[in-house]
Amino acid sequence: MDTLFQNLLNALQWGSFYSLIALGYTLVYGVLRLINFAHGDIVMVGAYIAFFIASALLGVYGGIPALPGWVVLALTIPITMVLTSVVGVTLERIAYRPLRRKGANRLYVVITALMAGLILENGNLLLLGASRKKFPELIDKVVYQFGPVSVTNLKIGVILTSILSFVILHMIITRTKAGMAMRAISYDKFAVPLMGIPIDQIIVFTFILGSSMAGLAGILFALSYPILDPYMGISIGWKAFIAAVVGGIGDIRGAFAGGFILGITEIMVVAFFPSSYRDLISFTILLLILTVKPTGLFGMPKTTKI
């Protein structure tokens, strides 16, 4: 029983990462019907950007006096989010938009996304080498002990941040004009430009939102698991994609819920079964969910228009 609460906290933290990353997948899919397989690698890029910004602000490269840890963190988060969204938008401009202009089949765009992900990984490998980077500790870690349950300030921070960013994202999509335009494009891509909505700008806006979520996930991930390597985004990216599908891809409530479902399943399977069966059991559960509800928890069945 004691371990149940501890594992629930572990699961919430782990699920937070899946949720943050799944949000990026689902945003782009919702608007473009494109599975952006490079998204996991954008998370990796976000973590590396955070690493360099944090190191620079800590005065590792000289030039400026070392700032205190919490100031560095407060500055690193927005700067990383901005720079990561620049990477995401650049990717859209040079890789996806030309294909869209030429009216290429969606399949080709998905393959382009896969390749873009490989380019990001191997570009990083070439540029920075294979050695891992150790993310600096920006805030003093405090371990709170409530009876048998221990939790760090970082863990609480991660969980709260992911909930907060979901709420903000949900507000943007349901309450703002840009959000309304995003939903409109998702509804009917051909009629929307006729209404005078700048489709390219909205797509760029979508990529900004999605990639800044990836950047945020990258920083939080680097803070929680402070060892960075060029392939760190692959496995978590794939699993977050599965989370988005289970939740019902295209719906941000689905991505948010799917991320936590996957996180909780993975952790609880390890808690109650031999840990070697983790992936086997947890993905069987997800498969069952999809068998019962093929469109995911929040997904709507949709007929393809010809």
Partner: protein, 391 residues
């Protein structure tokens, strides 16, 4: 037109012959090492140590085999720390690069499958760092420079019982890693033999590329062991120890030789201080030839060589000695490779910088292990040396 073609062809043949004539004066040795992937520092250490040795030998004019002197040529191929790439690299070194012998792979995860290829193709392979028995088992062409896990496991068991006065142990290992899984099982068997059934209170595993170990650690901590045994690669160790501390674990950890990379302390930092692990040699406080190697390596590359560097040095020197034992190379690669194997098998004892070794029938060395403690300065300080019985 036809004339030109003939001319070109003749030129081409000439250059081929010239090439092979030149090649006859060099000895090619392949290195199947992880320069990228999970454990890149291991590959780097191996490469640096080999480069140092090559410069030494070639600086003295080359390697004297029989009455002829050969220059050394080392070919470094990256196995990406993956089992399947290690197999491909071994095949490539044997078929395309036509090497006389192979050094590496280092980790058992790659060495066990790559050894199969080397043995099938009758090419000598020596793994510097692999400790899993399967690497050399029933493979006459495969050798190693490290001790074995059936020896290392009990060393860790005895030390933990002695040092921590431990009665209950917990183990967290990597499921997809032959090394980690093998050692974890040996440890468990030996611990339960000495402390009774059920004294390994938690035996948990994790998958490839996992970064979150909180659920496994929660189970382990709830089982209240006296210490946690971690037979894992250094990069995972850094994450596991940090997360265990986050979950309120204050007890000790005991590690194995895969901890001993120069990069461990960069990644792990203060969380690793005070922990113990078993390894092949202790750099701090070394004497004689070992110290000379450490000082030269440090001067050249700027950090204290880890056990992989030292073992690669020993392994490569073993190969060179085996080549010299052949008494002369014929130029026929098949025959020469066989001769090198016989030369290798005829080495009965060897004074390496990681200690003296004697070889048994399987091609495995019988040598001592050391246990080191990670000091406050992050150095691996010698604590205890354990030798196999009957040595």
């Amino acid at each position: 037109m036809k004339k030109i073609t003939t001319l070109l062809l003749a030129l081409f043949l000439c250059s081929l012959m010239a090439g092979s004539a030149l090649a006859a004066d060099t000895i090619k040795i392949g290195f199947n090492i992880p320069l990228t992937g999970e454990i890149p520092k291991v590959g780097e250490s191996s490469k640096f140590a080999a480069e140092m040795l090559k410069a030494d030998v070639n600086g003295q004019g080359g390697l004297k085999v029989g009455d002829k002197t050969y220059k050394l040529e080392f070919i470094y191929e990256d196995n990406e720390s993956k089992a399947e790439s290690a197999v491909a690299v071994a095949q490539k070194l044997i078929d395309r690069n036509k090497v006389l012998a192979i050094v590496g792979p280092n980790s058992s995860k790659q060495a066990v499958p790559a050894g199969e290829i080397a043995d099938l193709n009758q090419t000598v392979m020596i793994s510097p760092w692999s400790t899993n028995p399967d690497t050399t088992l029933d493979r006459p062409f495969v050798f190693r420079a490290a001790f074995l896990d059936p020896f290392q496991g009990p060393v860790a068991v005895n030390f933990a019982m002695d040092q921590f006065k431990a009665k209950k142990a917990a183990v967290l290992y990597a499921l997809a890693n032959d090394y980690s899984k093998g050692l974890a099982e040996i440890f468990k068997t030996d611990w339960e033999k000495k402390n009774g059934k059920g004294s390994v209170v938690a035996f948990e595993s994790y998958g490839d590329k996992d970064q979150d170990f909180s659920a496994q650690l929660t189970t382990i901590i709830a089982a209240k062991p006296d210490f946690i045994f971690l037979p894992n690669n250094y990069n995972e160790v850094a994450l596991i120890i940090k997360q265990a501390h986050d979950l309120g674990w204050k007890g000790p950890f005991m590690g194995s030789d895969a901890w001993g990379s120069a990069e461990l302390m960069n990644l792990c930092g203060k969380d690793c201080i005070g922990q113990y692990f078993s390894t092949h040699y202790a750099a701090a406080g070394a004497k004689g030839k070992t110290k000379e190697f450490i000082d030269r390596y440090k001067a050249k590359y700027g950090y204290v060589p880890d056990d992989v560097a030292a073992l690669t040095w020993d392994a490569t020197r073993l190969v060179l000695k085996a080549i010299q034992n052949t008494g002369g190379l014929t130029g026929n690669l098949r025959k020469d490779r066989k001769a090198v194997r016989d030369g290798m098998a005829s080495i009965k004892s060897f004074a390496g910088i990681t200690g003296n070794m004697k070889f048994d029938d399987q091609g495995d060395p019988i040598k001592c292990a050391v246990i080191v403690r990670i000091s406050d300065k992050g150095e691996f300080v010698f604590t205890k040396s354990v030798c196999p019985e009957g040595k």
